[in-house]
Amino acid sequence: MRDHADEVVVISKLGFYMIHYDDRLQELELLVDTIIHRHEEKNIDYKSSMSWEDRDTKMMAIRCILGMANLRYGGYIVFGVRQQGNDFILDGMEQDHIKSFTQDNVDTDIKNYAEPFVEATVTIVPRSILKHKTESIPTEFLNDGGDFVVIQVKEFDELPVICKKAGKLKSGEIYIKEGAIYSRPRGKVETSEIRTQTDMRELIDLAVDKNLRRLVDRMERIGITKLISPEFSDEERFNNQLGEVK
């Protein structure tokens, strides 16, 4: 526990966080788990060390952010992990590249492309705090490089995120399309424009769920739900969950 506390103090001195120790430790733990997970998932994307100032990097990352914002629970983009075949190597980031990832830079660029705004948090995760979790990773997948950058993307708040401006790669190719809705479709670990009715249906369901939840929260705040539904026990909630397979 002492080790962890020391590490957080170091990070705090670097000015990345205002710390509520317990919450922040849990979040850091989650980020560390995400870095060492080393398998791309619908909500986890890995990228090698690159600079946010690089146009192509920015375009790739922003498209990914737009896609993850449309997922339930959002997602994580981890910079400093290189894909080699089916393996992911924990290289870490080059120092100059890390400096380019400021919260302001990332927020400004997201604001240019996302409608409504996407909340994304940039965190620099020191390599030192990975140590206690990397013992089981073969050494060939662990290089002695720098720290890692993780962009944590929150799922959209109320309305699905739409791209409001086209974005081009250095080659001139349009990589982000104005008016497109991006997501990370089922069965794939990539960001792409929503094209199937199943993926669109999933996104609409998510939006409806969120708005319903908001409505229920509001009803709870003003005490309406107590009038129309009793509190359920855990047992009842498990039973209710079964629905058609009860």
Binding site: E41, K42, Y73, G187, V189, T198, D205, D234, F238, Q241
Partner: protein
């Protein structure tokens, strides 16, 4: 590569129709879940599938539960699969809350499958002692593996229900048992709340106890020492 990469969403099976088919004859209903409800204990549906893949019990030719990629279906907070083989059917669903529900046909009721159950002809409606032990052992082994994945938190509820059991007779596949033990109950239920520590330490003993409980509903009192070697053969995959 994510687990989801290997999956494809196939045309949906009709859940209602599948359940009706299973329930049209004798069937088992298994429910394994934590005690405390947390709707999204498991962070994603991909993770749900991965957990089932990792926990699947493969002691013999028929896995528990059957992972049939042809029938994978995703809901808002669950993943589901099943199969239908000559009427012998199965349907399971695993929720992000950690709740697992599983329906499957009583294999003994599908005597029309050619050359499959010749010894069953000795009884009208039967339940195999050995198959019951195997199945309960697999269920408890599966629950233990869920506990190892921390899906069940500190305590779990394990419910096993066998339905359409009235007037059914116990038998052995090799015909060695005289079919005189009959159930008077339509439903046989074993329910228990168990700490995960206990499950991790003694799931096989518990499976034996539960099997004995089921068999006792047929007025058949069998000692633990008779069942243990049979269970051992299953676990060590020494089935002839």
């Amino acid at each position: 590569m994510s687990a989801i990469n290997t999956l494809e969403v196939k045309e949906e099976m009709d859940v209602k129709e599948r359940l009706e088919k299973i329930k049209s004859r004798g069937y088992w209903r298994v429910n394994i879940r934590p005690i405390d409800f947390e709707e999204r204990k498991i962070e994603s549906l991909e993770r749900c599938w991965k957990i089932i893949e990792d926990c699947c019990v493969r002691f013999r030719g028929w896995d528990y539960p059957v992972l049939n990629k042809e029938e994978i279906r995703y809901g808002n907070d669950w993943v589901q699969s099943g199969h239908n083989w000559s009427g012998l059917s199965e349907l399971w669903r695993f929720y992000q809350s950690g709740q697992f529900i599983h329906y499957f046909s009583c294999i003994e009721d599908y005597r029309e499958i050619p050359n499959y159950f010749p010894t069953l002809k000795r009884v009208d409606r039967g339940l195999s002692v050995t198959s019951t032990l195997y199945k309960v052992t697999e269920i408890y082994e599966f629950a233990t593996r869920l506990a190892e994945k921390n899906v069940l938190q500190n305590q779990a509820k394990i419910s096993i229900k066998l339905v359409k059991m009235k007037d059914r007779t116990l038998f052995e596949w090799d015909g060695s048992m005289i079919p005189v033990y009959k159930s008077e109950s339509e439903e046989i239920v074993t329910d228990e709340v168990v700490s995960t520590m206990e499950l991790l330490g003694s799931s096989r003993d518990k499976a034996i106890d539960k099997t004995r409980k089921i068999l006792s509903e047929f007025s058949y009192e069998i000692s633990q020492t008779v069942l243990v070697p049979t269970q051992q053969r299953l676990i060590e995959k020494r089935l002839g």
